[in-house]
Subunit: 314 residues, 2 copies
């Protein structure tokens, strides 16, 4: 069984790079397999340990994820690197369990309307999928960590405001269904830091040893502030994508994920060592510029550079 | 005497728009006087109360500030609106005291090297200018609030890291010289939220009733996170510029001020009423697009729009 503490060591910050999955979900172009393998290798060489590499989806409709197994095998060959992948139905879970993937992610929306629009399932049925994944993994007796991503946890494009108490009930059900990692996602980028603190104030005391992840979109400029509020509330696992790639196809108005590079700077400047070499990481954006020339790349630290006059590293 | 509590009412957030001063300091183009007057009127109509409108500098070298007196008179005619202007020498102080300006700002660098590069004075001499401004205003018996802007308070392009204790000593000297408002500026945009919290932890207990302002540049993506850390530490006055205009001519690598519109969204989403109508404010960017077509305008909320599916206003 993959050891959760290997993926998410206690007492330090873990930043998960999701560009190959969340980033490629909405783009019109994507890198070929060779470039993706280069992406993985350069990210790991810069110190990234947790990489979401794709989704187990039908190749015909989602050609950008056709090489998911090759990417898993590549990450599996890199010491201290861990792959994760999305599984949106039972077949995807079965397929993922036949690979060396370190973590599989089931998506459960905080609202019923987003669940139906995003994964074409009721929330209840999404929670059942999570239970299925955990039971199958346990039956095999080895395999990936079973994660849940609770989407629209801070606001829903269909149902509007989402009360922290109702998110908490979804989290409770996910824990009951066997989730070993809980990610809380601001899918449409409407949270402010106060909402992050409020929800974590409810969730943190209930999860015991289960790692809680904050997944942010920087739609309205609060992404890095929200990340800081999460760190301040004790969160030690955060998601981002290189260049702020990504969005959500069923979340109207959403723009990119929080910029991974800026997240690294925030953490290091705030006294949390990430183990990531920021200058190497910035160099790595050249792959995206080459392979996805039509995409907008975001990020302040890549534009301004790391400060050379002050000591900002932990 | 201008009442400080009118400019900075207790118990609520005041956001100061600095585009006409800090924003025009570095731009190659600037609006004509008529457009500046429209800027002032539209900002005030959107609910902005505190506007920095320029600097008392020689017209020949700084033509962008030649109309500073006209702008002061215009703001003076708007109920509940307050102008401020920079005064970098004794003559500028005398000139400013002859106008209806609500607040004059003396700049004192936290480091000696930046002081000499930025205002061509020693720190000691800059503090003497502050003392002069306060004494002259008091001698007249009426006139503007006397403010100090402590620049490079979180890091200096020449001297590197700046210790909070040394900033505190400069703040103490400024209080002794008669400063009625203290602004702490991250001139080159190197602070993270932790540095904001650390410095405020030292400054807040020392200033009594003197309002403390945080002035941020978003050079490395931490601007809004730093603003949140300041709010969290009890700060209720923050600076920004429409579209993130601005920088510092003597601070290599600096980019714009923190985006005023994004600051409004952060505050409102965090439960602090700003009195500013964000949709009106966003509409106001059209003046900049028209008058300064070569300038980059920044800002997430202007791009994404305010969320229409959730209630985000205080």
């Amino acid at each position: 069984m993959t050891n959760i503490l290997a993926l998410y060591p206690k007492g330090r910050v873990t930043l998960r790079e999701l560009g190959l999955r969340d980033g490629l979900q909405m783009t019109s172009s994507w890198p070929g397999t060779a470039a993706k393998l280069e992406w993985i290798e350069r990210a790991c060489r810069a110190g990234v340990r947790n990489i979401e590499i794709g989704s187990f989806l039908p190749e015909a409709r989602f050609p950008q994820f056709a090489d998911v197994r090759q990417l898993i095998d590549r990450v599996d060959g890199i010491p201290d690197a861990f792959s994760s992948a999305l599984t949106l139905n039972e077949r995807a879970v079965d397929d993922a369990l036949a690979t060396a993937v370190s973590e599989i992610v089931v998506v459960v929306s905080a609202t019923e309307a987003h669940s139906r629009s995003n994964v074409n399932r009721s929330r209840e049925s999404a929670i059942e999928l999570l239970r299925y994944a955990r039971a199958r993994r346990d039956a095999i007796g080895s395999g990936p960590v079973i994660s849940v991503a609770v989407s629209v946890a801070f606001g829903c494009p269909f149902e509007g405001n989402v009360e922290p108490e109702s998110v908490m009930r979804v989290v409770d059900r996910c824990l009951g269904a066997g989730a070993e990692v809980i990610s809380l996602a601001d899918t449409v980028g409407v949270a402010g830091p106060r909402q992050i603190a409020e929800l974590l104030g409810l969730v943190n005391p209930r999860v015991g040893d289960v790692p809680v992840v904050i997944h942010l979109h920087d739609t309205r400029g609060t992404g890095i502030a929200n990340a800081y509020a999460a760190l301040d509330a004790g969160i030690r696992v955060l998601d981002g994508t290189i260049g702020g790639l990504g969005g959500c196809p069923f979340a109207p108005g959403a723009t990119g994920n929080v910029v991974f590079e800026d997240l690294v700077y925030l953490c290091e400047r705030s006294g949390f060592s990430t183990g990531i070499d920021l200058d190497r990481l910035i160099g790595f954006r050249s792959i995206l510029e080459r392979e996805m020339p039509g995409e907008n790349l975001f990020g302040a630290i890549a534009r301004a550079g790391t400060p050379d006059s002050i000591s900002w590293k932990v």
